[in-house]
Amino acid sequence: MAQHDDSGTTAAAGSAVVRNEPASAKSGTAVIPSDAFENPGLPPHRLRATDLDPKTDRVAERRVYTLFFLSIVGSVFAVAAYVAFPITPGDTNSVRLNTVFLGLGISLGLLAIGIGAIYWSKNLMRGDELTECRHLTRGTEATRERAVEIFREGNQESGFGRRTLIRNSLIGALVAFPLPAVVLFRDLAPAADPVAQLEHTMWARGTRLAHDPTGVPIKAADVTIGSVFQVIPEGLNDKPDRLEQKAKAAVLLMRLKPEDLHVSPGRASWNYDGIVAYSKICTHVGCPVALYEQQTHHLLCPCHSSTFDVTNECAVIFGPAARPLPQLPIAVDSEGYLVAQSDFHEPVGPSFWERA
């Protein structure tokens, strides 16, 4: 126990240690320090009240089974409460009563089992500490030889190694068996090409920008400086798959002072007098980016705090998003309504494998 390799070196590091080494010992020889750590062993076992007094033992036993019976009562009570306090549609108070009593019953049912088990193990089960040694993982030589022999016998009797055609056809059958499942699961994917669906949205040339959720088209004159509009394409509410379409086509419309915008050469015609439209779908994992700070012109994503600078074509200035938000090119039609010039020029939302 006292022969730890490191005890000599740590003790030598300037500490005041009394060593009983002979003065003639050369440096580097094994040293047995006198203050080596000794295993203190287990503390002396103290008998519990239940070990000493049979009366206390009986009391403890009674408590444990009372707790288990209490658990049964709790479970039965939960079933009774579920029937006795039904949920009436439209009545929130009935929901509350139902939840409270059902919860009380179920928690009593579970809690009493737990408390009873802990009480049982602490008071009644064997109380002294003991050490159990693990047996070796490796079997004896005889067992190992016998195992190999069983395999060999099996091979001989079945002819698995000899009748190769049977063996190979079985392997082939087992490989082919899961194939129908693969085909079936493949069919759970979108029927149409998912890449095309991810690359394009509902926006097209001339689609009017409309209010979310009413679908009323927005006039350019309505958008005052400092405003933010939650936008959907006009006609979205009539689509059978409107939620899927909205998940891609949602747009945020803002008006800034035209001199605040830094427009890159190719996008000069994409805004209308300081009115800009950007995809609301975060390029990180697709949360709706809709926290707009009117004074700093920063757009925040509520999920991971990606921050986009609207004055700089929604460049990422903070957070995990990899790309700027795609801009929707807008114009004004003859009646003064805001319309899209085209779809987004790049896929909206998070990255995917086939994204160009």
């Binding site: 009240a49 939840t99 802990i118 405003s227 933010v228 939650q230 803002m254 700070e293 004074q295 509520p302």
Partner: protein, 272 residues
């Protein structure tokens, strides 16, 4: 007697010299309560006195108040001071009513954003200020009281709130964090008139929601929803600030699991 005296003398000295361990705490508590009580009494009487002074709201009165309280930052004729305070041309009576009526203005100190605090002026004085600022240049007016009765459609209001407001103010109006110390405040207990004015003026980080974006009726619906939230307690029990997984998770990890660990140790702790 001599036998009795001997132990009694040191004990009586000890009693006189040492106070009860809780005596200091009790003394401090009494002191704090009496000071605080006296202050509350004094300040409430003081504010009662100021509000009893009534004058006619007028732009002239407002101009004087403006020169005395606002001109340092906003300029003598509300033209703004570069780098200090913005121009107030075109902000309208609604902005004044919101900023001064919620105590955000006059600003106490420079910071990430002006915070709600005790209102500095009487209602009449606020009306005078609003009238003066509105007389400088047209801007959003104080909303008509028919939209502030909270008797609209709460479920329409809830849908509009979720689409336009909930990302910053939280779906239950509990507020939320923005960047660099800015935050969207909690909306519980805010007066309908201030909610409406905030929507039409867009104070600080908040965008503007003009009448073409949210019609007055839709704004009234949103106010109805917020007032409905104020009046109706959460049916699920304690709402823990309506902050969602943050406060709920913290509660269950600390108090829920802590209680389970404590109870497990406590059960049969006296077995030996």
């Amino acid at each position: 007697m001599a036998k009795n005296n001997k132990p009694a003398t040191p004990r009586s000295i000890g009693r006189r010299g040492r106070r009860h361990p809780l005596a200091t705490i009790a003394l401090i508590t009494i002191g704090l309560v009496s000071t605080g009580g006296a202050y509350a009494l004094f300040s409430s009487t003081a504010s009662a006195q100021t509000s009893s002074v009534r004058t006619q709201a007028s732009a002239d009165e407002g101009k004087k108040l403006f020169a005395a309280n606002c001109a340092t930052c906003h300029g003598l004729s509300a033209e703004g001071v570069a780098g200090v305070g913005p121009s107030l041309y075109g902000v309208g009576a609604a902005s004044v009513s919101f900023q001064v009526g919620t105590g955000r203005m006059p600003l106490a100190n420079q910071g990430p954003q002006a915070e709600k605090k005790a209102v500095q002026f009487t209602d009449t004085q606020i009306s005078s200020l609003a009238e003066y600022v509105a007389s400088l240049s047209p801007g959003p007016a104080i909303p008509s009281s028919k939209y502030l009765q909270a008797n609209g459609n709460a479920s329409t209001g809830a849908e509009l709130f979720r689409i336009n407001c909930a990302m910053c103010h939280n779906v239950a109006g509990a507020g939320g964090a923005l960047t660099e110390g800015k935050f969207a405040p909690s909306l519980s207990g805010v007066l309908p008139v201030h909610i409406y004015e905030a929507m039409i003026t867009g104070p600080q980080s908040m965008p503007v929601f003009n009448d073409a974006n949210l019609t007055p009726t839709q704004k009234a619906d949103i106010i109805t929803y917020l007032k409905y939230l104020d009046k109706n307690p959460s049916p699920g029990g304690f709402d823990l600030g309506n902050l969602g997984p943050v406060s709920e998770g913290l509660f269950i990890w600390i108090f829920g699991l802590g209680a389970i660990v404590a109870v497990t140790i406590w059960i049969a702790a006296k077995a030996n």
